[in-house]
Amino acid sequence: MEDWRKNKLPFTIFMGPATFWLLVFFTIPVVVIWVYSFGERGPLGQTYLAFSFDNYLRAIEPIHLQILWKSIWIGGVSTLLCLIVGFPVALGIAFAPDRWKNPLLLVVVLPFFTNMLIRTFAWIVVLGTRGVVNSGLGWMHGALDGLLTLTGQPDLMGDFVPLELLYNNYTVVVGLVYVHLPFLILPLYATLEKLDRSYLEASLDLGAGQWRTFFSVLAPLAMPGIVTGCMLVFILSMGNFLVPDRLGGTDSLMIGNLIAQEFNKARDWPFGAALSFVVMYPVFIFFAINALRARRQERARAET
């Protein structure tokens, strides 16, 4: 790597445009909304700049705190389920023969490139009252009914009532796991792929069973991947707007929906801004810690 000072002109030409764009159309918007989060809402929905923590205090009022808490809870459950479903998959792919790795990874990430809205909609097709699962159940019901009629017991089953599988917190969790699974599998795979297998072999040779090796050796070694993946899934699940909006019921309102509401119907932008920063602060902190750790490791490496 070259020092930028020796190549100021090419460095500026290459870095400049993208930096400018991201500064103007990403960093400044984030700063603007941060400033807004301390503002006040006028009577007509306009925003007055101010310096008050009222919006943040409102965010922890019981009614909003409850939504925040629900987002954390649903996000946490989704993350845990992602980990349980994703870990064996990441492990299997990481330890697969080389020629299998890329095809298997491709199979995992391909759905990730289809539209999130469509993937959410797919669950309506599967779980809706007129969906595939209910159609299947209805068909079985009809078949059973026919069978009972043949044996001389008509009307024993009654009419088929489709199950209400959609629009509750469970479907939101299913949808969030479905949408975010690759975000967990990929970082986990990257860590598992790189880790030194001789530790695992040593553990197995020295008499530890597979489970013991898994929990005492493999899991600790994979911790960076687990933490990154879980953090990503948690942040994205907790702040998700689309899945609770389409798959959730009236009580499945999450913080992403609340933010959207404040910017649409309610038109209380300062409060919406404060809410989105409630989501973003932990993200910033997490990545700041990550960056610091990387910096320290780099320095340590430079010193040795």
């Binding site: 790597m1 070259e2 020092d3 930028w4 190549n7 460095f11 870095m15 930096t19 764009w21 991201l22 159309f25 990403f26 960093t27 400044i28 984030v30 603007v32 909304i33 064996p88 998959v89 492990l91 299997g92 330890f95 697969a96 023969p97 299998w100 890329n102 995992v108 391909l110 759905p111 490139f113 289809t114 539209n115 999130m116 469509i118 993937r119 909609f121 797919a122 309506i124 097709v125 599967v126 969906g131 595939v132 159609s135 479905y178 699974l181 297998r197 994205l236 907790m238 702040g239 707007f241 933010i259 959207a260 910017f263 932008w269 989105s276 973003m280 993200v283 990545f287 990550n290 780099e298």
Partner: protein
């Protein structure tokens, strides 16, 4: 059959780390893949269903595709989507590629922090970025339109392109550039005739990726688009609000086919170049 017997006999000799040779691992992988694909496959399958009212298979039909094709507003939304994706891809590929190259090549103070900041669009929830963009456009007095959508799409696709280009450059042999300079080529000649050709597969992959990301985006588009500026996903969303008919399945299937084929091409290009120089 014989394979099964043989493998049972040799069970003791299976390397304990070859998890893929264990049945429970196959079960886990299979379960995960079914979970990932079942909903999408079902959605696609029912776009060919002739029955309207429920998702019960009543025979093959293409009428929902005909209906979707003749839907003028869906048509317009599709054109809008293509327009947005094409323009934002051109800009974000150019800017992202230069950024990726600079990040690969140069060291500068606070580089780690800088990288953390430019990767934020990837990691913060979409809704946060969406409302930040709306607030910004409103604060500086820019009316929402397809242009504001394009501007926002460029902002969140640049980091992805930069990541792809950097990954590509990781395999670059710097001595090629040195040789070029030693043989008398200028800095720019070296770039155009040596470095740039090497970047091309990365550029194609990055461009395809950014096209797909732009085409697929719903949340940021939904917030930054002006009134009546529908893109394809936004149109599908509003169709979903009214009624779920197989027409939505057909429209979704069209989008799935486009994005998946572009993604596949990008990935195949990537796997080609990870195999190293032409053999």
């Amino acid at each position: 059959m014989t394979d099964a017997i043989v493998s049972r006999r040799h069970r003791r000799e299976v390397n304990p780390l070859e998890y893929l040779k264990r049945p429970w691992m196959w079960l886990a992988l299979l379960g995960c893949f079914v979970f990932l694909y079942f909903p999408i496959v079902t959605l696609v399958a029912f776009s060919f269903n002739s029955y309207k009212r429920a998702f019960v298979w009543k025979g093959f039909s293409l009428k929902w595709y005909e209906k979707a094709m003749s839907n003028a507003s869906l048509h317009e939304a599709f054109i809008n989507s293509m327009h947005v994706a094409a323009v934002s891809t051109v800009v974000s590929t150019a800017l992202g590629a230069m950024l990726g190259l600079a990040l690969y090549r140069y060291w500068f103070p606070w580089k780690g922090t800088y990288e953390g900041i430019i990767h934020l669009p990837i990691v913060i929830p979409e809704i946060c970025m969406a409302v930040a963009m709306v607030t910004f456009f409103w604060a500086v007095g820019i009316d929402l339109s397809l242009t504001t959508v394009i501007v926002s799409h460029i902002a969140f696709t640049i980091p992805f392109v930069a990541v792809v280009i950097r990954a590509r450059m990781a395999g670059f042999d710097v001595s090629l550039e040195e040789a070029s300079r030693d043989l008398g080529a200028s800095e720019w000649q070296t770039f155009w005739y040596v470095t740039f050709p090497y970047m091309i597969p990365g550029l194609v992959a990055g461009a395809l990726m950014s096209f797909v990301l732009s085409l697929d985006d719903f949340v940021i588009t939904f917030f930054t688009a002006g009134v009546g500026d529908n893109t394809f996903p936004v149109k599908i969303y509003s169709m979903l609000r009214f009624s779920v008919t197989p027409e939505v399945n057909a429209a979704s299937t069209v989008l799935i086919v486009i994005t998946l084929s572009l993604t596949l091409v990008a990935m195949i290009m990537q796997s080609r170049w990870t195999k190293g120089p032409k053999e």
